[in-house]
């Protein structure tokens, strides 16, 4: 790792101010992704601001009947929370589908949202990558791209967002709460939090310089059957090839679907959810309209449809 200096922040506002003030500074929470990238020198921060002991590790009920999840709540703690298991099962299921037991004990709610892509060209500093080195090109397009994006891609980047948790949060219409270096707070809908790559693939989310996530809130429970189905190359401890987060209400015909492994952000097309009467084929066709595939990753299109069929069967909607 490149040398860096380290400080432990005293408050969320002080942490945000410290990152804004210090050139090359980054927050460190669980560190399971950042330290991996620092060892490879994909990330070379000059200063780390440790936000682990700021008291942001609780899950509380909101006045609206939902939950406020502190930014530093570990993935295991969130998945195991009785309220999450009872009312937001899709989130609990998504969390335990990700990483390993050891990593989930360390990884945080905010850090999970801010994970970097596992595109092999992003990880390999000998390769061009517009995300890692703006303007250097994209080696993934025309390279080994079997597991890369098919939706919302650009000529500059076909990376996917690797999170399972974020996919469930997208289906649940979560909101990200932040504080900026001036101490101002704001709320960002999860739909607007992650960005598509466009011609600035290194800009991955809506956060401004030094802005720090303090919590993620979930609206009040919507009931229904919650399913998280992850398809991957091995049965455990692997990133999604594709995944489906679904909340199904066979009684009312309402359905929500968000997809992982397809895009630079959790992929959700609300219009496709109106097509649930037409079954998996209709939903998949609407959700994947405009897909851009390569010879290697074109299999994801039929895989989404088949996985949706399985999810609908499990949820009693087909």
């Amino acid at each position: 790792m490149k040398p860096f200096t380290y400080e432990r922040a005293a408050s969320p506002a002080a942490a945000a101010a410290a990152v804004a003030r210090t050139p090359g500074a980054k927050f460190i929470a669980g560190g399971t992704n950042l330290l991996d990238l620092m060892k490879l020198q994909v990330e070379t921060p000059a200063h780390l601001v440790d936000v682990n002991r700021l008291g942001l590790d609780t899950i509380e009920a909101t006045a609206e009947g939902g939950l406020r999840i502190g930014a530093l709540v570990r993935n295991t703690a969130l998945a195991a929370d009785q309220r999450v298991r009872r009312d937001y099962g899709v989130l609990s299921r998504a969390l335990v589908s990700g990483a390993s037991g050891q990593l989930r004990n360390k990884a945080t709610t905010a850090g999970n949202l801010l994970q970097r892509t596992r595109c092999p060209y992003f990880y390999d500093t000998n390769q061009p990558c517009n995300k890692r080195k703006p303007g250097s090109g994209c080696a993934a397009i025309g390279g080994f791209n079997r597991n890369l994006a098919i939706m919302g891609t650009s000529k500059d980047c076909i990376a996917t967002h690797p999170s399972d948790m974020a996919v469930a949060m997208r289906a649940l219409d979560a909101t990200v709460e932040t504080i900026n270096p001036a101490g101002q707070t704001r709320r960002i809908a999860i739909a607007d939090f992650h960005r598509l790559p466009g011609n600035t693939p290194w800009v991955e989310n809506a956060l401004t310089a030094g802005e720090m996530i303090t919590a993620v809130t979930l609206p009040k429970p919507i009931g229904g059957t919650h399913v998280y189905r992850k398809v991957r190359d091995r049965a455990s401890y692997a990133f999604a090839t594709i995944s489906v987060a679904a909340v199904l209400r066979p009684d009312t015909g309402a359905a929500r679907f968000a997809f992982g492994g397809l895009a630079h952000k959790p992929w959700r097309v609300e219009a496709a959810e109106q097509r649930v009467d037409g079954g998996a084929k209709a939903v998949a066709a609407a959700a994947l309209a405009g897909a851009w595939t390569t010879e290697q990753n074109g299999f994801k299109v039929p895989l989404v449809e088949r996985t949706l069929a399985s999810v609908l069967a499990e949820g009693g909607a087909a």
Partner: protein, 224 residues
Amino acid sequence: MGTTIHIGAEMNDIPGIAITRRGALVSGAAAAAAGVVPLASEAQALPAEQPAATMPVTLTVNGKPRTMDIDPRVTLLDALREHLQLTGSKKGCDHGQCGACTVIVEGKRINSCLTLAVMHDGDSVTTIEGLGRPGDLHPMQAAFVRHDGYQCGYCTPGQIVSSVAMLDEIKEGIPSYVSADLNASAAVTGQEIRERMSGNICRCAAYSNIVAAIADVAGAKDVA
């Protein structure tokens, strides 16, 4: 031969053989290094890197307070192995993929290679050395021996530390991806053990015996 070497913490308890794995490795490395002449010109050609400022860190390791002055880059794994000479925790991949470095911090199993020691100032750490010792094995260590839950043994400390903490996670009611009912407590089944231990890779593929050892300790019958 005839020399008895006692280095490091891994005393071999096989009667009549008083050489440790670490001792053999260290003496072997010393012999290899003796034949290498440092190239002064090469050393000078390297860019001078500023020494990083060190920071004091105190950990309670296996019940004992240990204070170090370390570079913030030092991972918890390197602090344990290189600064405290607790070499039971292994460095496999150094990227959180293999689980050989698993230790228990504040009651939770984590990958010690993917966290900085400075982030754990004041924390309590349990390593394989803290679970049991030769002659006084932890039940999980004894079960791994009984079930032959290893071949080369490199992943074994991580497997054992991970499995001890994993059984606690099941007791605490933490669900897994294979738990059928999110709102019920998971039983200790072969499927649950396999899923929950997926962060520990065994390249010798001693998995079936590892699962048998863990199931034995948990008192689980059906682990097919």
